[in-house]
Subunit: 120 residues, 2 copies
Amino acid sequence: MNCGSWRVKQVIIINGALKLPKGKLAAQVAHAAVASFVAAPSKNQKAWIDVGMPKIVLSASSEQELLEYYQKAINANLPSQLIKDAGKTVIAAGTITCIGVGPALEKKIDQITGDLKLVG
Amino acid sequence: MNCGSWRVKQVIIINGALKLPKGKLAAQVAHAAVASFVAAPSKNQKAWIDVGMPKIVLSASSEQELLEYYQKAINANLPSQLIKDAGKTVIAAGTITCIGVGPALEKKIDQITGDLKLVG
């Protein structure tokens, strides 16, 4: 039996071109994680909590690439949220900093984000 | 009228001594944000979503200091979660990486965390 085929996870993809300072980046990723969680169906929320809320942070090379991944996630009916910064500090208001995808089935997410690299 | 007195926010405090790489840090902060959100009363959740889920990331200087802030938050009946790393990658399993506090009233959180510095 391949249990891995129905595991649930969450992926946050950042706009790596922004090179945000680490505290700012962490707050934006956290925003995406909560927003995408809230947008997900309750069965996804529950299944994800039950397995310890696994999440990974990946990097896209530009805002354009980030938007392409967001569109793919939406097209695949994955719960997804686009995060824009309020612009009070480091970057201009409305700058797209990251997207949250899931919690959803790992194999469905991996079909879309599987070629992106982890943020070190 | 001082509307600020009943604003709702969330604070994540990291263990600054660990000096985690930024992707790892972001994932841990996101974990704290979601876990503390899930642990909060539904009225806090709703009020926080309504104002755009404001959050800040602060730094404690050691695990010991982080545990002291966690205890203060618990004593003040603030929704709080202690996050330990699963230890698959950068750090040892069970290492305390951060805590999430709130969403809750800003003035109640600030009484506890107001002296900590933002993560740059």
